[in-house]
Amino acid sequence: MQGETALNATALALDPPQAARAAEAGPKTAPKMATRGVKLWYGAKQALFGIDLDIKANEATALIGPSGCGKSTYLRCLNRMNDVIEGCRIEGEITLDGEDVYDRRIDVVQLRARVGMVFQKPNPFPKSIYDNVAYGPRIHGLARGKAEMDEIVEQSLKGAGLWKEVADRLHAPGTGLSGGQQQRLCIARAIAVSPEVILMDEPCSALDPIATAHVEELIDELRHDFTIVIVTHNMQQAARVSQRTAFFHLGKLIEVGETDQVFTNPRERMTQEYITGRFG
């Protein structure tokens, strides 16, 4: 399985024990992404109140919290998807491998190629399955010639666990797939540009339990090659797929820690109440 999902040489080199060791190394290794004092306003309304959060490489970080607490907003900060929103203002520091992503010298196009995104509702382009996956590589000029593109498409679809289901109909429209397949197509599309980080905003909320299980398994595999940040409303899901969990409330980061610790022994009472379903 590992070899199948691997997309590049560095990823191939990282077998599970190594990835685990990287995670265990804890504070000493530099985080993949880090945010310091991130505040965000939609017009006059403040949505984030100073978020300090490290996202570690080759881990899945789960963002949980009641509806409207700013999880999506925070997630969209990480690849600057909030840029397109009218009247959105942001303060604070967000770094990717130590580089400030809001630095003038950073090209947002390059940033989004390195920090990909999967959305809540499957949103394949109304193009063929092949063209959906090839879209990103084409834009960034990642393939020289058709053979290379074919290879990227195949590897990405395999990485998203969709290859077996669609290999014989690559040129059928992506919108013709089932919801769960569409979401895995969107994941394939995101990994086709070999990002370093993949942001997922409630990727399973439109899926049935079986499709959800598929995607969850996938996330657990993808984590070895990519860094993953996932927003979810499903506590079991957060516990199953993530290594670290961050709990948001009303635009503030209340608590962050190892998933096991957050779910079994949270430091904050509010976290405890939320995960046991007493409010939210």
Partner: protein
């Protein structure tokens, strides 16, 4: 007319009574009724008005025919022998006599008698109609009130009637279209009896003057339509070259880049362009643009006619910008935000997103806009009359004067015409060709749309 009003009033009363009756039988518990009181009310109103109105319509179609047939039987023998337009003329006089108006022809005693008969029969017919209609309407109310019961499915009955009404509306519009097409087709065939189809379709010379008198010379008329179609094509092409890019690009700007405030101001402003009467565009083209082009052409040594295809086409292009921009804008903004997010999230720029995702998804709407604009351009007359001239030049030089199919249809029919001269009938043949052209255009567009459509459901 007053009868229709009376029926409508009765229907109103039926509505009221039906409403009250349904409430009474429900005894205040509306939930026990199968339908809402409003449905029972409509049920009563429809029962009162429906048959009565249908009878009125039927009567107004059939009774004149019956009247005419009966009266012709009373005419003097020599008049009965008449046929066609002459008989029509005579019958019009009979009707005028019946109404007490002076006849336009000679009034013989036989004709006066027929007039009197026509009048009395007409009065009897009207009386009978009133009686029948009132009986039907009142009877309808009576029956409705008797039939209204808690388990009467008034809702379903009313909905069925509504469905038939909708069907009737659709059928009327289809029949009207078919009627127009067939009459144009029929008249065109008459034209092609006089002028061979091949002369019309492939003739290079258009000068539709036919001799009024047999002894006139040199005016047999020639009906080669090619110059007109080339003219139409030339002007429409110029117009689309102006409207297509400007319209589509401004739609892209409005849909993807403009701030909501700017968009809210700019969009209605652009749509005003389509609301300006074409006459205004016409004299703008003829008095401002055409002289400007001529002078500008002179300055650089070009020979520009004072009435040119370029002036007409350019101004027409301005006029049809809103058709392209407004429909394209609607289509572009209808593309779900999720598509934009997906593309931007993959690191595509705005322009890449528009070109590769948004426009393909919006293609059907964009094509519809272009198509509407093209058919406006082909059908536009006034601007061309004023700014491109009437001379049927066979040329593709945009600086020369040309004429179009629609303009020639107008000039063929302006002034007193015989209704069966080749010149008049030529208008129908041109109309038919226009119709066929737009039909082909539509079919092609449909095909293109199917082929390239990217559905985003």
């Amino acid at each position: 007319m007053s009868l229709v009003l009376i029926v409508l009033v009765l229907a109103g009363i039926a509505y009221y009574l039906g409403h009250r009756r349904s409430l009474r039988i429900a005894g205040g518990r509306i939930a026990d009724l199968h339908s809402l009181p409003g449905h029972y009310a409509w049920y009563a109103a429809l029962l009162a008005a429906g048959p009565a109105l249908a009878l009125i319509v039927l009567w107004s179609i059939v009774s004149p025919l019956v009247l005419r047939w009966a009266t012709i039987g009373r005419l003097p023998a020599d008049a009965q022998a008449l046929s066609g337009p002459r008989l029509d003329f005579l019958m019009q006089d009979v009707a005028r006599i019946a109404q007490g108006l002076p006849a336009r022809g000679d009034v013989t005693p036989g004709l006066a008698q027929a007039g009197a008969f026509y009048g009395s029969l007409g009065t009897a017919s009207t009386l009978l109609l009133w009686l029948l209609v009132l009986v039907l309407a009142v009877g309808g109310i009576y029956l409705a009130l008797r039939w209204i019961a808690p388990d009467l499915r008034a809702r379903n009955h009313v909905e069925r009637v509504v469905r038939y009404l909708l069907l009737a509306a659709a059928v009327i519009s289809i029949l009207t279209t078919a009627g127009i097409v067939f009459s144009v087709l029929f008249e065109s065939l008459r034209f092609f009896n006089r002028v061979p189809v091949t002369d019309f379709l492939f003739g290079l010379h258009w000068s539709p003057q036919t001799a009024l008198r047999a002894d006139q010379v040199g005016s047999s008329g020639s009906f080669g339509a090619i110059p007109l179609f080339v003219g139409t094509l030339l002007i429409s092409t110029i117009a689309m070259l102006v409207a297509g890019p400007i319209g589509l690009l401004s739609a892209m700007y409005l849909a993807e880049y403009a701030s909501p405030g700017f968009r809210n101001v700019a969009k209605p402003l652009m749509e005003i362009l389509a609301g300006i009467p074409t006459v205004v565009y016409g004299f703008f083209a003829a008095l401002t643009v055409a002289p400007f082009l001529r002078d500008a052409g002179q300055a650089i040594g070009l020979d520009v006619a004072s009435e040119s295809a370029l002036a007409a086409g350019g101004v027409m292009g301005i006029m049809i910008i809103p058709f392209v921009s407004s429909l394209s804008d609607d289509a572009l903004t209808a593309v779900p935000a999720a598509m934009r997010d997906a593309s931007l999230g993959l690191g595509a720029t705005r322009a890449e997103t528009i070109r590769q995702v948004i426009v393909p998804a919006a293609l059907p709407g964009i094509i519809a806009g272009f198509l509407l604009a093209v058919s406006r351009a082909i059908g536009e007359t006034m601007i061309v009359v004023m700014a491109a001239g009437l001379t049927a030049n066979l040329t593709v030089n945009p600086l020369a004067a040309v004429t179009t199919v629609t303009v020639q249809i107008v000039t063929l029919l302006v002034g007193d015409q015989e209704f069966d001269s080749a010149k008049t009938l030529a208008a129908f043949a041109l109309g038919l060709m226009l119709f066929v052209t737009t039909l082909i255009l539509n079919v092609v567009a449909l095909y293109v749309m199917r082929k390239y459509r990217e559905k985003y459901d």
